[in-house]
C-alpha cells in the first residue's frame, strides 16, 4: 500500500517534471487550425504545394516585399532564430514567405527579396483567389490601401508567424513581439518532439 502510494507520487513527479507542461513562448494553437495545405506559385513560376516541403518544420508568414518594417524585421528575426539551432536542425526548418501583393511581387522580385533573408526562406505568391483561400484557412486577412500619386500603396496583413510541425499540424502562433531567442527555443522543442532527442 505504502509502496504503491510512493510509486504513484514518483510517477506524478515524473510527469510534472517532464517539462511537457511548461508553456511555449509562442501561442499554442494545437487543434485550432487545419493542417498545412496550399497551392501557390514559387519564385521560378512553378506551382508549389505543401507536399513539396513535407516533413519539414514550416513557418508560414504573410507579407509583401514593399513592406516597410514589420516584414523585414520578422524575417530577420526568424533568420537569427534558425541560425541559433544546431546545424542538423537548421536544415529541417523552412520559412514560407507568402506575398499577398501579387501585383507588385513578381516571382523575380520575390526571389531577390527572400534570398536576402537566407537559404531557409521560400518565396511564394499566387492569384488573389489562391491567397484569399489560404489566408481564410488560417483565419487571417489582407487588404490594400488606396495607391498614392507614385502608385505606392500599403498592404495590411497578419503580423504573426504560424509554425507547423513535421507532420504539418498547426502548432504555434508567434506574435510579432516574440524574440529570436524565444522563437529558437520553440523551434528546437518542436524539432526535439519529432526526433525524440
Amino acid at each position: 500500500m505504502k509502496t504503491g502510494l510512493a510509486a504513484l507520487l514518483a510517477a506524478l513527479a515524473l510527469l510534472a517534471g517532464c517539462g511537457n507542461n511548461q508553456p511555449w513562448h509562442g501561442k499554442d494553437i494545437s487543434g485550432l487550425m487545419p493542417e498545412l495545405a496550399f497551392e501557390l506559385t514559387g519564385t521560378n513560376g512553378q506551382t508549389v504545394t505543401a507536399s513539396d516541403s513535407a516533413g519539414q518544420l514550416r513557418l508560414l508568414y504573410f507579407g509583401f516585399t514593399s513592406c516597410p518594417d514589420v516584414c523585414p524585421d520578422t524575417l530577420a528575426r526568424l533568420r537569427v532564430a534558425i541560425n541559433q539551432l544546431p546545424e542538423a536542425k537548421r536544415e529541417q526548418v523552412e520559412v514560407l514567405f507568402v506575398s499577398v501583393d501579387p501585383k507588385r511581387d513578381t516571382p523575380e522580385r520575390l526571389a531577390s527579396y527572400v534570398n536576402f533573408f537566407g537559404e531557409h526562406v521560400t518565396g511564394l505568391t499566387g492569384t488573389e483567389a489562391q491567397l484569399r483561400a489560404l489566408s481564410k484557412r488560417y483565419r487571417t486577412t489582407f487588404g490594400y490601401d488606396e495607391p498614392d500619386e507614385n502608385g505606392n500603396y500599403n498592404v495590411s496583413h497578419s503580423s504573426a508567424v504560424y509554425a507547423f510541425d513535421h507532420q504539418g499540424r498547426a502548432r504555434l502562433l508567434m506574435r510579432p513581439d516574440l524574440s529570436a531567442q524565444a522563437i529558437s527555443e520553440d523551434l528546437a522543442r518542436l524539432s526535439r518532439e519529432h526526433t525524440g532527442t
Binding site: 501561442k27 494553437i29 487543434g31 485550432l32 487550425m33 504573410f62 489566408s135 481564410k136 483565419r139 487571417t140 486577412t141 489582407f142 487588404g143 490601401d145 500599403n154 495590411s156 496583413h157 497578419s158 503580423s159 504573426a160 502562433l173 506574435r175 510579432p176
Partner: protein, 283 residues
Amino acid sequence: MPDASALLPYDYSPLTILAFVLVLAGYGIALLRMAPDQQPGPVRIVAFTLGVLLCYGVMQTRFDYFSQYMFFVHRGQHLILHHLGPFLIALSNPLPIFRFWYRALGLANKPWLAPVAWLYRLLQQPVIAAVLFVGLIYFWLWPAVHFDAMLSRDLYWLMNWSMLLDGLLFWWLMFDPRSPAKTTALGYGKRILILALVALPQMILGAWIVFSRDMVYDVYEVCGRAWPLAPETDQLLGGLLTWIPPAMMSILGILILLRRAMHADTPRPHPGQPRSLVNGGAS
C-alpha cells in the same frame, strides 16, 4: 459600392443555412395552414421575419467577414445574435406557430422529447437563465478564450450559435406571452429584476473594455484587420457596443414588461386565486 456578392456568405455553413431555411419555411407553412383567428398579425410577422433575417445576415453574408477581422463589428454581430434578433423573435410571440407544429407533428407524449423538455425547463430557471446570459458574454470575451475562438473555425461557429440559442432562450423567458397568473410562466416582477440585473455586468464589462489602456483583444492585431483602423478606436467602439446598447435593450424590455403587467392588472375576472401581477410572485 453595392455589390451583390456581399450578400453571399464569407464562411459558407450549410447547416446554418438549412436551419434558417427550415425556420422561415416552418413559419410560412404554419401561417398559411393555421386557422385565421390564430394567425399572428402583420406586425408580429414582420418582427419575426426581421429578427430571423438579421441573425442570418450577420452570420451568412459579407458582414461575417468584417466580424471576424474587426472587433467592433464582432461586437455588433453579437449584439444582433444575442440581443436584437432574439428580442424581436421573442416579442413577435411565435407561440401559435409552435402550437401548430406541435399538433401537426403529433409531438404530444413522445418519449424522446422528455429529455429536451427537461433541459429546456432547467435552462429556463430564472437564476440559471440570467447567469447563462451574462456568463456566455463574459466567457467568449475572456481574452484567452476570445483569441482561440477567433482562430478556430469550429470554436467561432460554436460561439455564434451558442450566443444565438441562448439569446432566444433568454428573451423568450422575458417575453413569454402566457400569463404568469394562469400558467407557470415567470412573474413580471422577476422578469424585470432579471433584466435589470443582467444589464449591470454587461455595462461593467463594456466600460472595462472602453477604459482599458492596453489592447485587450490583440487577435485582431495579430490576424490583420479588415481595413486599417487604429486598434484603440476599434477597441473603444467595441467596448461602447458592449456597454450601451445592451443596457438600453434591458430598459426597453423593462418598459415593455411594465406595460404588459399594467394591462394584466386592469380588472378582468380571473379565475383562481387573486394575485398581484405587477409583483408577479417576486415577493
